[in-house]
Amino acid sequence: MNAIDGTDRHIKQEDAPPPSLLSIVLDTNPHAWAHLSSTLPLHACISALLVFINAHLASGNANEVAVIASHTHKAAWLYPTPKGNRPTHSTSNGAIDIDGEEAGRSGIQDNPNKYRPFAMVETDILKNLEKLLAETKETHLSSTPTTLIGGALSLALSYISKSTILASPLDLSTAENPLSSLADSETSHTARVPLTSRILIVSVSGDLANQYIPVMNSIFAAQRKRIPIDILKLAGDTVLLQQASDATGGVYVKPERPEGLLQYLMMAFLPDATARRSLVMPSAGGVDFRAACFCHRKVVDVGYVCSICLSIFCEPNLPDNLCLTCGSYLSLRNAITPAPALIAKKKKKKKKIGGGTDSATPGGTPAGGGTPMHS
């Protein structure tokens, strides 16, 4: 009779793994790929990625994929193709339709040797990539040596969030008013969101410190939404992306032999959230948590931090005493203190002088005594 206890009410929902959405951010920085061309040319990487995407789509019937190129001057959709022939800009977050079925139908040449959904994804990706590369002018390349990973990441995140809303059970009222479902997607639906998402960044560029703020914001957004960011670092090295995978619980792999890309992808990046629960996944290991300074993009141990926007600077000599990032007044000259190791000593001294009125000390009365003056 114990079996009547309704504790197994949820069993039906849990027996199949939830569908998973994989957003791939492909770094298409021409500078870096030119550098890599001897070991792993871009076309080899794309074909490996396509097989990987097919494997992902095959792993679950409702699995979805989105591919975004992070180029030198813009972030562009590779799949799904945005509806209408609007220029695809990193700023367009509008109605990009999920099912590119209708759009892709006419252009696809039917190939009896290929599973149709695979063929549709492949055609779209190749077409859009070609378009992106054709659009790239020399001026774009010469203006910057790096890639717009921040924009691509936020595109991926917004797409994921939209797909999550679309995938969760809808009723008629929310269909009429999408905003209301957006509003309570945070609160009521989180318990049974059926879509699990992750982001994979295939990165080849090194220096990303100039996008510290957008990337960090994206990382925090991903952390909040519990979206793991996986990093496949084919070349270069950035502290930022290591931190991204560490903070969101993603996988970090820096292949020793980029030629074997496909095996790395299949083994380390294919398992989705359900499979990862029972597997040991590679991670970054010792993560370098140091931040890059915003003025010279040096990785610093100890720096100066703007109190408004939390930007980090390696030296106190700011022009006009204005923060380089947010432009607020920031006088660092006054803050120059001896080496940080000495701070403890200094505190003690202060205590003696101020009579323990430091508001941070638990024993002191916070209201009494003046706030300790700066200087």
Binding site: I4, H10, A55, N61, D110, K114, Q263, S278
Partner: protein
């Protein structure tokens, strides 16, 4: 039981020879990979697919977390039974034995071909070049499939609840072949002109559409040899159908005679549509393309069909329409006779309006259903699968009180549950017993154990048998 597990069970019983033959077709391999394998098994297969050498068992163990051992065992069992994975034992010079795993070569090649789209197997269906006005719309296919399938269901249910002949187009004629098939599968019992639904038939009716299709097709498969068809051919054609896309027509010229014969039967079920029986092309319907999707596709289907302009009358099975309150009152927004007939199997229906029937779940109505052979789990899963979108928003779709009460009503009648299997007893030592019982537990086949009497009960014995043999050596 979900639809894919049904097919998996059938497939597992097939011998190695059938498997090897099946794995020659990339579309079949892809379909088996997509819908049959457990999630972890998919991960394993993909990890090994492009590996250059065999995969040492120690490395595999290291890859899994300690708490994932059970799932690993299950995944390996399925891969082993389907002959997808091969195990090799190599003995080193030092005498140390190392076990390595590898994929069956045929399977690996086909799966690689399916993923890359290479080769010239043409196994994903050759599209016909029909153009323009002759083409059939997706909407039409949708209607056609629903009509054919509901006809079959109504044929089974209608006579039992006394609604037969009252159909407004629903109770259409069902083909003789289909009737024979339903009889062979023991879904119905025909005595003269009187058709009675059996216990198995109830199970069938209450499942979701996808599972229904599979159960009917499995009966079809089992009877294929008697009709002079090769089972392998039939199976691979079914998997091929699952990988086609709706709205596209495919040519029949590349099909084998067996498959052509199948097309006729399948169009009677509504799984494929042919403009005429001699037409050189056929269209797969929604029933066909979801063959290799999970039952979860039911909900997905309702979101995809919103693109069609108008919901058809008979589409009630595709969209949730049932609301149940905590006071056991049931409201069903439907006018489909089939749905009403099914509901009336376990509900005391009181009122019918043009678009709504209302009634109540009572002790009498449930126990009557139980007597007919319907289990509480089936009722609950039917109600869940067809719950109104408004209900879908709740954390447990049905009110917990109602679910528990339905179970309690059922348990009033039957208090014993049976599982068929094997009892293992008379072990020589405690250690041997422990070892085996833990192995059985890790496989997930252990049903019951008694440490004091040193015996336990399993529902499947093949794996344990091979384990014992290996140990003896």
């Amino acid at each position: 039981m979900s639809s894919s597990s049904q097919a998996l069970e059938y497939l597992e019983q097939q011998p190695l020879k059938t498997h090897t033959k099946l794995y020659e077709q990339p579309s079949t391999v892809l379909a088996i990979f997509r819908c049959m394998l457990p999630h972890l098994a998919k991960t394993l297969v993909m990890a090994m697919l492009y590996m250059t050498g065999p995969f040492p068992a120690d490395d595999l163990d290291a890859w899994f977390r300690a708490d994932g051992k059970k799932d690993k065992g299950k995944a390996l069992t399925v891969l082993d039974r389907l002959h997808i994975m091969t195990t090799a034992v190599a003995v080193a010079v030092t005498g140390a034995r190392t076990t390595t795993y590898g994929l069956a070569p045929r399977f690996a090649t086909s799966l690689r071909e399916a993923l890359t789209g290479g080769g010239s197997h043409r196994s994903f269906g050759v599209p016909a070049s029909t153009t323009g006005a002759e083409r059939v719309t997706v909407h039409f296919l949708e209607q056609y499939a629903t009509k054919q399938w509901e006809n079959i269901l109504f044929y089974m249910v209608g006579s039992t609840v006394g609604l037969a002949g009252g159909g407004e187009g629903v109770g259409g004629e069902v083909g003789e072949g289909t009737k024979a098939l339903l009889k062979m599968g023991e879904f119905i019992h025909i005595a003269g002109r009187n058709v009675r639904i059996t216990k198995k038939g109830f199970e069938f009716v209450l499942r979701d559409t996808n599972a229904q299709v599979w159960s009917l097709l499995i009966v079809y498969l089992q009877n294929a040899p008697a009709l002079g068809m090769s089972e392998t051919d039939v199976l691979s054609f079914l998997f091929l159908l699952g990988s086609l896309s709706i709205g596209q027509d495919y040519t029949t010229s590349t099909l084998s005679p067996t498959q052509l014969q199948m097309l006729e039967d399948l169009s009677a079920f509504g799984i494929v549509y042919r403009p005429s029986s001699t037409s050189p092309s056929f269209y797969p319907t929604r029933l066909a393309v979801t063959l290799t999707s999970d039952s979860g596709s039911l909900q997905q289907r309702s979101t995809t069909t919103t693109t069609t302009p108008k919901e058809t009358r008979g589409s009630a099975t595709e969209k949730g329409f049932i609301i149940i309150e905590t006071n056991y009152r049931l409201y069903a927004y439907t006018n489909s006779l089939l749905s009403i007939a099914i509901l009336s199997l376990f509900t005391k229906l009181t009122t019918r309006f043009p678009n709504l029937v209302s009634g109540k779940l009572t002790r009498d109505s449930i126990s009557r259903a139980v007597k007919l052979g319907i289990s509480s789990a089936q009722i609950i899963s039917y109600l869940q699968a067809h719950a109104h979108p408004q209900m879908m928003r709740n954390t447990t779709i049905l009110p917990p009180t109602v679910m528990d009460q339905i179970r309690l009503w059922e348990y009033e009648g039957e208090r014993v549950e049976t599982t068929s299997g094997y009892v293992m007893k008379e072990f020589e030592s405690e250690k041997e017993y422990r070892d085996l019982v833990e192995y059985a537990e890790s496989l997930g086949v252990l049903v019951w154990r008694s440490d004091a009497r040193r015996c336990f009960f399993v529902d499947q014995i093949d794996q344990i048998g091979t384990y014992l043999q290996r140990k003896k050596k």
